[in-house]
Symmetry: C2
Subunit: 426 residues, 2 copies
């Protein structure tokens, strides 16, 4: 069926509901280039301001899936279950989580992207491991899932190409912040990837895309509903992102911290969130006789990590890159660390070289921020609070400026915010 | 000053006010190609849905004027005053009006466009006169204004180029129907043209762009306010467009009816509106000692018409084109003509060949509709109600279909709607 792009746009502009046929047509025609960028931009703005109802969102998601291929994975002998995070500062959880869930008996096909802006990308982190490569064929993914149970690799251009095109458009037209468009973007890729279950980590707070709990909850509920409409068992955790996760922010720095966790150590918050997500993933996979907390503490997930990295050409025992320049940020007075803002730390790490401003930028493997003190701990004047790591010392001034209001020593003791805020099920 | 297009878009998306600098920058950068079509499309949709306040609209208008040149007319020895109609079916008023106002002592620099859709364009109508040409240089316009007092010609591409570019974009992105964007589009061109006074004919009803009186009034008030903000004396009439104006719809057909009016005859509604607009224009020009009704009835405006047409290469005494195929639409029963819908008649004339669907289409000079009966008049079964004129008889079926619900014979007498609904002054 053929429609006029203007009719589709004005339907949504005037607060109407898009028909299934209109949605199928506009996504297909945009992917094919028959609907122009400016037309899709106007439609995206109308969707952002006037919304879509659950049925429209489910159909929009399906149309994006139908714009490309669905990953045809053969039976790998284990239940498939995946996880997606909306992104946060120091969020390296995928790195310990995939081997942990594999060690517990499920298979994790984690197709990831690179980072843009102040939150890092999983592939950027893993690429700090010498030799590791992100691109795998479908056959390699299947073989690695059957053999090891965990794959973290680059998504393929044939999955949901409409989403790739639409996301790039939204990025330059001020139409990123639409819950229907965010939810359908995430879910179309995950459904096209062919997973059997999905756990979402929806982050809330200054360092997250969603600053308010209400918006984060709405996004989580919208994605869980899309999963249900597509027969994909989906659970969402609402988790805090007002302070960074763990004590390392940056690519190689986060790999090192992930290895600590996989060996049974590491920061308590990273362990807590990794275990909570693993528990939900295993429940969706129907594996209830294994306690992921015990498996992680025992170090039994670490050999899975080693095999997963080695299978993609990486040397898990090779030394990680180290920054040529490291300098501390010190306390300007004695007292208590009352504020360690996730966004400020994320922007600082980004400016130090850990992230990219444009898709075509390279990232520094060793750049980032190491956190030496947790919120609520007492500090002395002159005591180092953070370490700035970079290969470009000229970037330090900008990183310090980003931290100016984000790292505060005061007098009143503060409690760390609750990490696990809520669980949202179908 | 340089801004990010995304920041400008999100300001309006989130219901904020655009700063003067943001408006100047975004219009200038869009005209220069530094803001992409998809970005302006998203902004236009945000403006449509979230509006602009009067100061924003005035600045937006100024930025569009500043995107090009302002027509530098020398003193032509008479006060300049112009008129703009938002467009209607059978709206040939500019044709008798410009010579009439010139005959009364003012000068009318009427820079016009071609029609698109169901309302005809003034240039299309005049081009049905053998030899007449629409394009004049600034020098020719000035000379003709000084000599004859009236020019109807094509607008030049150097006036408000941002408007031309933005209008083409709005046309394909469902963002035409925004009062701030409509008002600034019209007023930027009229202000750039350098007129000393402006009378707006804002039409209301099925055949008009504005279907409701509330919306038409808001548009009129917005334009009068823009005029005031730019020091241009502006008056708006709200006039009916639920039935066609006069008895002729089409290019040559409307020229012939205009000549009747200029010779002192013609349909009462065309005479009434022509005189009302002339009276307002003369008031703005400071000419209060001439009665345009008397001048029109005396036929004294006709020689001005002849000179105006001849000055642009036209032969005012040449026979007008006649359609090769004419057939009637007859009454299917006896009774009273209770409905003669402007939109239906406009679409019928368009389908017969009088209008164009795309900018690049040609129009037929002789095509159109002649109205034989007025609403409220008694009719006999089989009596011709309208005549369809075309050079492409295959178009007749489509024209009849357009008229099916628009021309109705019933039993109850109806009153013709009031033509002049209101006058809006600063």
């Amino acid at each position: 069926m053929t429609f006029s792009a203007v009719d589709v746009i004005t339907t949504k502009r005037d607060g109407g509901r898009l028909s299934d046929d209109q949605i199928d047509w506009v996504i297909g025609a945009y992917t094919a280039g028959d609907v122009a960028h400016e037309q899709m931009a106007a439609l995206a703005m109308a969707v952002l301001l006037n919304g879509m109802d659950p049925d429209e969102i489910a159909r929009w998601t399906q149309a994006m899936i139908d714009s490309g291929e669905v990953l045809a994975l053969p039976d790998v002998g284990r239940p498939l279950v995946d996880k997606h995070s909306t992104g946060g500062v120091g969020d390296k959880i995928t790195l310990p989580l995939a081997p942990l869930v594999a060690a517990c008996g499920a298979a994790v096909p984690q197709l990831s992207g690179r980072g843009l802006g102040h939150t890092g990308g999983t592939l950027d982190k893993l690429e700090s491991i010498p030799g590791w490569r992100a691109s795998l064929s479908t056959e390699e993914i299947a073989a690695q899932l059957a053999d090891i149970g965990a794959v973290i690799c680059a998504t393929t251009p044939t999955l949901a190409p409409a989403d790739r095109k639409l996301y790039a458009l939204r990025d330059v037209t001020g139409t990123v912040e639409s819950i229907p468009l965010i939810a359908s973007s995430i879910m179309s890729k995950k459904i096209a990837e062919g997973t059997g279950g999905l756990v979402l980590d929806v982050k809330v707070g200054s360092g997250a895309f969603m600053k308010s709990e209400d918006r984060a909850r709405e996004l989580a509920e919208t994605m869980v509903r899309i999963g249900a409409a597509h027969g994909l068992a989906t659970t969402a955790l609402l988790t805090d992102m007002s302070v960074p996760l763990g004590r390392a922010v940056g690519n190689a720095l986060e790999v090192a911290e992930s290895v600590e966790v996989l060996r049974g150590g590491g920061p308590a918050d990273v362990v807590e969130l990794t275990v909570a997500l693993a528990r939900e993933m295993l429940a969706l996979a129907g594996i209830t006789d294994v306690d992921p907390a015990e498996v992680l503490a025992s170090g039994a997930a670490y050999p899975v990590w080693e095999r997963m990295i080695a299978a993609q050409g990486g040397d898990p025992s090779a030394p990680l890159p180290v920054a040529s320049h490291v300098e501390p940020v010190v306390a300007d007075r004695s007292g208590v660390l009352t504020r360690l803002d996730a966004l400020a730390v994320g922007v600082a790490a980004w400016r130090l070289g850990a992230g990219r401003a444009r898709k075509e930028d390279a990232v520094q493997a060793a750049a980032g921020v190491r956190l030496l003190v947790e919120p609520g701990e007492p500090v002395e004047a002159g005591q180092p609070l953070l370490e700035l790591h970079t290969d470009t010392p000229g970037a330090v001034a900008g990183a310090r400026a980003a931290l100016a209001d984000g790292v505060v020593v005061g007098d009143e003791p503060v409690a760390r915010p609750t990490l696990l805020k809520d669980t949202i099920r179908p």
